[in-house]
């Protein structure tokens, strides 16, 4: 149930509000009111390194039941392009993210929604799909058109079917991983052309509500930028008698301290986004801004203005955090100037809590023949150990040797309890390695595997072959023990940022960490030489053929030596004279 605004708005009333002050409107009670719901929120968290982390989440709930096969033609808040994609390709869950930059866990803590650099797409299909690979190919091409991204580079050479790391995040009972596809494009660049179609999917577009802050010249001038779309089926109520589709659009951005250039430790909405807020989106049932003040409950480190008395507490990633809340649906939030410009001013700085799970990855070795991939996983919990699932998808042209796989913790061998390895096939599919590793408390676990670099055909190199080839991020999924007990009652209203990953236990929460992508050089042939090489090699083969042909078809004969040139000319002259030759 959404809170109703106090005053009617000037928009055409297409949202789920009852127009109580217009008596001439007749409410048709026989037609059931569609119950689409849209919520928007922005969380601003000052980080200990002085950077600011802003996370937008826009959630649209769409009540429709076309899992039974009804053809839907009426779209209200849910964007039509995505609705058609879901129905045409029988998608059960879709998660796509575009990220520019790498999330620095050690300096910034954990993000609300992690994402690897580049593009990442993973999809669960309905079990009615017969040809999953064909549907996957069409889906990537359609999404590439919707988001103006080069997702058409996703093919069988970089798609895998993880068996354990990616379970469905919505409701449903299909867990056969034949219907799951996962692919990353670490080389994908995010820019304004990807932001614009993403903004178009919002009900209010970028004209009202929090989306007016999304201006690309400021958003891309940041240390980290990630936009994502998550579609999944959710329960409408506690008994889960009906389901609805949930579309979450998230945008995470981290602004660098020194970017505005003034050196003063002061942040405002205007400085970050070059806009202020004037109104909430009229179609939204809830529009809130949360500022994380957990690290500063008494206002010693920073102060927020305009001040607010609304406070809220929530469990985020195993930690209980306190937020100041600004409700944009209330007119008093905007004050007398009718615009809201939040200001955060720092007073001092302090050390940060270390994140519990953190990972790094790099390539070791020298030369263009062999190499080694090292993945380091840090468990910073003082006394609890927990298992992690490591997923590595390595392209086929780096030939992994699985007998060289070593997992060591604290200098001792740590054998994984579950290994799922699918070797690559040249030019068809990549390597897939999934392992369940138990991380001992307060330790570093190192996973190393050797590989060999392949020489490709000259047409298979990109136009800049010496830049190198990208290897997608490793995915580390785990249930991390929580310091504080959490509330698992999912019907209570919770801020969007804490309700994404389903949480079943009170004592642990689900976390996913992405490592860096790798850049690996391969040996290259000389690209200017195809014709020369063909000619020279065929010459060598012809030399062999020619010598053997001569020896096989000719026989030895006594040679009559031919006379020298002078004698031959003399003989010709003598023949003309009629005289016998020399």
């Amino acid at each position: 149930p959404a809170p109703k605004p106090n005053q009617p708005t000037s928009f055409e009333a297409t949202a789920d509000k009852e127009d109580t002050s217009a008596p001439e409107t007749v409410v048709q009670s026989s037609v059931p009111q569609p119950k689409d719901d849209f919520q928007e929120e922005l969380v601003i968290r000052p980080l200990h390194s002085g950077d600011i982390y802003a996370s937008f989440q826009f959630r649209t709930l769409w009540e429709t039941d076309f899992m039974r096969g009804n053809k839907v033609s009426h779209y209200r808040l849910f964007p039509k392009s995505l609705g058609q994609v879901i129905s045409k390709f029988s998608v059960r869950e879709l998660h796509i993210s575009f990220t520019q930059g790498y999330w620095r866990t050690m300096q910034w803590g954990q993000p609300f929604l992690p994402s690897p650099p580049g593009a990442e797409l993973w999809v669960w299909f309905q079990d009615s799909v017969t040809d999953v690979d064909g549907t996957w190919k069409e889906l990537t091409n359609v999404l590439s058109g919707i988001f103006c991204a080069s997702l058409n580079f996703i093919d069988s050479t970089n798609t895998v079917q993880p068996s354990a790391s990616f379970k469905p995040l919505g409701i449903g009972n299909v867990t056969d991983h034949r219907f799951l596809r996962y692919a990353t494009l670490p080389r994908e660049i995010v820019c304004t052309e990807n932001l614009t179609p993403w903004k178009k999917l919002l009900p209010c577009g970028s004209k009202a509500g929090l989306a007016v802050l999304l201006k690309s010249e400021k958003l891309f001038h940041s240390s980290f930028h990630s936009q994502a779309v998550h579609i999944r089926p959710v329960c409408q109520d506690w008994q889960c008698k009906t389901t609805s589709w949930e579309l979450r659009q998230t945008l995470n951005v981290v602004f660098d301290l020194h970017t505005p250039g003034q050196g003063k430790l002061e942040w405002s909405l205007f400085k970050m986004f070059s806009r202020t807020l004037t109104e909430a989106c009229p179609l939204a049932s809830s529009s809130k801004i949360y500022i994380d003040i957990t690290d500063d409950p008494q206002g010693e480190q920073f102060e927020v203005s305009p001040a607010t008395h609304l406070l809220s507490q929530a469990m985020v990633l195993g930690d209980r955090r306190t937020f100041s809340v600004y409700d944009l649906t209330q007119q008093i939030t905007f004050g007398t100037v009718r615009s809201l410009n939040l200001l955060i001013r720092w007073k001092s700085s302090e050390d940060m809590l270390r994140p519990l799970l953190h990972a790094e990855r790099y390539v070791a070795g020298y030369g263009l023949q062999t190499g080694e991939i090292h993945t380091l996983m840090y468990n910073n919990h003082p006394y609890r150990s927990f298992p992690v699932l490591l997923l590595d998808s390595v392209p086929w042209y780096l030939r992994l040797y699985i007998h060289t796989l070593t997992v060591t913790s604290k200098g001792k061998d740590n054998k994984p309890s579950y290994i799922h390895y699918q070797p690559s096939k040249d030019r068809v599919r990549p390597h897939l390695l999934e392992m369940l590793v138990q991380l001992p408390p307060n330790s570093v676990t190192e996973v190393t595997v050797q590989f060999e670099r392949a020489l490709l055909k000259w047409t298979e190199y990109t136009p800049d072959p010496n830049h190198g080839f990208y290897v997608g991020s490793s995915v580390i999924s785990s249930l991390v023990p929580s310091i504080v007990a959490m509330d698992t009652n999912s019907t209570r209203e919770q801020p969007l940022f804490s309700s994404f990953f389903p949480c079943k236990e009170e004592s642990s929460y689900f976390m996913r960490v992405y490592t860096e992508p790798l850049l690996v050089n391969l040996p290259t042939p000389d690209f200017s030489m195809p014709y020369n090489v063909i000619c020279l090699t065929c010459t060598v083969v012809a030399v062999g053929y020619g010598s053997l042909y001569n020896l096989l078809t000719r026989s030895f004969q006594i040679e009559e030596p031919s006379p020298g040139l002078a004698k031959r000319i003399a003989n010709i002259i003598r023949k003309m004279r009629g005289v016998p030759p020399l």
Partner: protein
């Protein structure tokens, strides 16, 4: 004869064992000239590891050996070094015994021809004496065991050594004339030794005194028997490979891999750079051309050399080693081991100095240019490719030189050594 051979074997085993214990062993097993995607020991270990993980070794593209090798090394993986040294020893002893037997037959045929007065009078200096032929088998064994190429191949634990052992045993059983122990050669890792069956057939015909006459029934009957036995043993080996792992996956992974050359790892052959730079449109055409090139010399060579099947075996082995899709130095070492058998041809060889210089220089330049390309980054792939071309040209020159010398000696034996022209002055021989 047993004592020098035993001494030679001991020396060879000592050298190999010393190298195994040194730090060079790891370095050598990574060299692309010595191991190829077909024969690398690292890939055998990888295949065994995949089998332990419960994944079929042929589901990926790393392992290209037959299931027989998997099962052999499943039990012998801890004794791998001894296995490869033993394979080298078996090859050397097999070559020793076969060359000894062959020399006896050569000498016997020569004696009959001399008694029948078939040689012209002035070519008596071309006749071979038992004294000069006495040390040839030992030299053959020595050429194989102490060849640096063979030692490198053994220290790298390349399965080429096992292939060579099987081929040597095939040659031994052919020369001994034992049709019963005769089996299809080296279907382990390569399809190219199929061409050796023609040479073996000719040798067995000669031994049974069946003339090669296409119109006689006895010839065709023998050919049919031989073909039946050969194909039978081939099917037995393929069937055994199927039953060992329970699937036909190994056929595209081993034989399909050899024929379609998808892996372009550099080696000393001609295929890798050619197909790395090939226009996509012509790839299939040139692949067929290059593969047919290996096989089609069989028929003309068999026709020309039907009286000399052992030289035919040598020529076939050389052609296979030069033109196969993934050659290594181990393949070269096998045909080079035969060179002492033709040491009496040295007076007719024309290019031997040039060829040996080029081969030595190229062998020295291979690691240098590889380092410059892959590690130093100051050369590019063209340098390594050029040395590959030169190395193969030198090998072709070597083989055709020996062929020329062999044919010339045969010509002299039937027409006389010192040839005179019509006016009595000394003549020169050319091929026309």
């Amino acid at each position: 004869m047993a004592a020098p051979l035993t001494l030679l074997l001991l020396v060879a085993v000592t050298v190999r064992a010393a190298l195994y214990r040194s730090s060079l062993a790891d370095l050598i097993s990574e060299r692309v000239e010595v191991v190829s995607p077909l024969t690398a020991w690292k890939r055998v270990v990888e295949g065994l590891a995949l089998l332990d993980l419960g994944v079929s070794p042929y589901s990926g593209d790393v392992f290209h050996e037959t299931p027989l090798i998997i099962y052999l090394f499943h039990f012998l993986v801890d004794y791998a070094e001894i296995t490869f040294m033993l394979a080298d020893v078996i090859t050397a002893v097999a070559l020793y015994l076969s060359v000894k037997d062959y020399n006896k037959q050569v000498f016997r045929k020569q004696k009959y021809a001399l008694e029948a007065d078939r040689y012209p009078l002035d070519c008596l200096e071309l006749i071979r004496s038992p004294k000069e032929m006495q040390y040839i088998p030992l030299k053959v064994a020595m050429f194989y065991l102490l060849n640096p190429f063979t030692i490198l191949s053994c220290v790298a634990k390349s399965t080429c050594g096992l292939n060579n052992a099987v081929i040597a045993l095939f040659v031994l059983s052919t020369i001994k004339g034992n049709s019963r122990t005769h089996s299809s050669p080296a279907e382990g890792n390569s399809i190219y030794p199929l061409t050796l069956c023609a040479a073996a057939l000719l040798y067995l015909l000669q031994r049974q005194y069946i003339p090669v006459n296409l119109r006689r029934f006895s010839f065709w009957w023998f050919v049919a028997q031989y073909a039946f036995m050969y194909l039978g043993s081939l099917f037995v080996i393929v069937g055994l490979s199927f039953f060992l792992l329970g699937s036909w996956d190994f056929l595209p992974s081993v034989y399909g891999f050899i024929l379609s050359v998808p892996d372009l790892t550099p080696n000393i052959g001609l295929f890798w750079y050619f197909f790395a730079e090939m226009f996509e449109h012509f790839r299939l055409f040139f692949l067929c051309v290059f593969q047919i090139n290996v096989f089609f010399y069989t028929v003309p060579l068999s026709i020309k050399l039907k009286e000399h099947p052992v030289f035919l075996i040598f020529m076939q082995l050389a052609v296979i080693s030069i033109f196969k899709s993934y050659p290594t130095v181990g393949d070269i070492a096998l045909y080079m081991a035969f060179l002492p058998v033709w040491s009496h041809l040295h007076r007719f060889l024309r290019n031997i100095f040039l060829v040996s210089c080029v081969l030595l220089a190229c062998s020295a330049l291979f690691p240098v240019l590889w380092h410059l390309w892959i590690y130093a980054g100051s050369a590019n792939s063209n340098f390594y490719y050029a040395i590959t071309l030169l190395f193969n040209v030198a090998q072709i020159l070597l083989v055709s030189d020996y062929f020329y010398a062999f044919l010339r000696r045969e010509h002299h034996l039937s027409h006389g050594l010192y040839l005179k022209r019509k006016d009595g002055s000394e003549a020169t021989l050319v091929l026309k």
